[in-house]
Subunit: 284 residues, 2 copies
């Protein structure tokens, strides 16, 4: 049996490509459709109401294309809109908060866990809620780091400016004696080396992308949704603003670091779409 | 006679408040309606097509409220969308590019002028085109400074991080021997001291807000549009995302530096609107 429909992945923009990369590495045979809402990025400074409106529009666009699983590859949208998306979606929905939190709890020995993310993610308390549910005895310390996203997009991930910004944001967390730091934004893995330099060897950095890919694999297996054909996988990319900037910067997110798996040497064909004008999938 | 309709001002978000401040200082008797498109900020990373679509929606919202003059208090929207807005609007439209360029040409002795702004503003070449039209012999050197907006919004306008970023962006311009630097983004006046420190005493910094307010005053006078009543001016604020962040950060832009003129001690009443769902003004 099996199911050869694509996995749908959306993000506010580019950052979710770090999650797509891990999905492709773990499930190279699966078709994927990625949607980056580049006309309305970033989500991390927006209100919960607006984040949910945009997230629902993105989800409807992908559901309208017959996906078998919906991945919210954006921490802010996962933190705010997962319940609304689960309510609307006829297919399983996976966010990045729960996988990331699970990995952090597994990694921590002292139970003192730090979380960094966008303003809206940190204000939502989503990570704290999930962490405390998974392990009621943990102590959670959190901090928003608004400049990390523009630094990563500017390509200033490991210069003196990034280091000073990281010191400004993270010194307080370090003083709390945490042993694990959750990178609660898909852009932050690009600053991993700089963050590690500030936090020191005693602190494990958790990037939720890999754990999210593992959860996707399990969900597909449990639901008998895995692709059993061996046709070459189809990779579709959609953006809501002109594709040029996405194409120019996307490689840094999708291809940086480890190899990205079969069938993905670069981002070539990116299509423009207006998710807010798409009727998309209608709930039956 | 005269005309007591309000002046309409829009910006992608908060930055245009630096322009509103100068309008109020110069024309304290005029009613104003300010619209910040906070659900879709920033414009400086978006394509020209998207910037124009958003700008038209903002303009229609304000025109639907009976304004007598439309001010584009955003450099990116002015650089890209002024012609489209002039075509649609039944009232005069004033952007910030031309006033800023005029002030720069007046200030420069050597004719070597630098321009800094967002990616989209600098790529558009709008400042270069206007500067060369005003003074064909000028030499224009330009540079986008993507991190300046997040630095200003973070309140990191004059720390070590801002200074290093400014050095990174501006050293090349300094080596070109410019004597005038146009701050081509409404956020940049907040970093004025840091920019001045990098550029040195020999370089005059031009902030287009004041010159824009002067042009508005002239346009009102020429068109017999000035308010001749002496009722207290009405200040209306609209945003497209929840008002909290706008209220929290707005003061830094509207009240920082010089006094802002009569009737404006803080931003109190900010209303939420969805410009994309408003029918607004319809062209006759």
């Amino acid at each position: 049996m099996g199911n050869n429909a694509p996995i749908g992945v959306f993000d506010s923009g580019l950052g979710g490509l770090t999650v797509l990369k891990e999905i492709i590495a773990r499930l190279p045979e699966e078709d994927t459709i990625y949607l980056g809402d580049t006309a309305r990025v970033p989500y991390g400074i927006r209100s919960p109401e607006v984040v949910t409106r945009y997230s629902l529009e993105n989800a409807r666009f992908l559901l309208g294309r017959g996906i078998k699983l919906l991945v919210i590859a954006c921490n802010t949208a996962s933190a705010i809109s997962l319940p609304a998306l689960k309510l609307e979606s006829p297919v399983p929905v996976i966010g990045v908060i729960e996988p990331g939190a699970r990995a952090a709890v597994q990694a921590s020995k002292t139970g003192r866990i730090g979380v960094i993310g966008t303003e809206t993610t940190i204000k939502s308390g989503a990570y704290r809620i999930v962490l405390e549910r998974l392990a009621p005895s943990v102590k959670v310390f959190s901090r928003s780091c608004p400049l990390f996203v523009p630094l990563a997009e500017e390509g200033w991930a490991d210069n003196e400016i990034a280091l000073l910004a990281a010191r400004n944001y993270l010194t307080g967390l370090n003083e709390e004696g945490i042993d694990t730091l959750l990178l609660g934004c898909t852009h932050y893995p690009l600053l991993k080396e700089t963050i590690a330099r500030v936090m020191g060897d005693g602190v494990t950095l958790i990037d939720s992308a890999r754990e999210t890919a593992r959860e996707i694999q399990e969900t597909l297996a449990e639901g008998a949704l895995s692709n059993m054909t061996d046709a070459s996988p189809r990779r579709q990319f959609y953006v809501t603003d002109a594709p040029e900037r996405f194409k120019a910067l996307g490689g840094r997110f999708l291809l940086g670091g480890q190899p990205a798996g079969r069938g993905l040497s670069s981002i070539k064909d990116v299509k423009l779409t207006e998710v807010w004008n798409e009727a998309g999938w209608q709930k039956k």
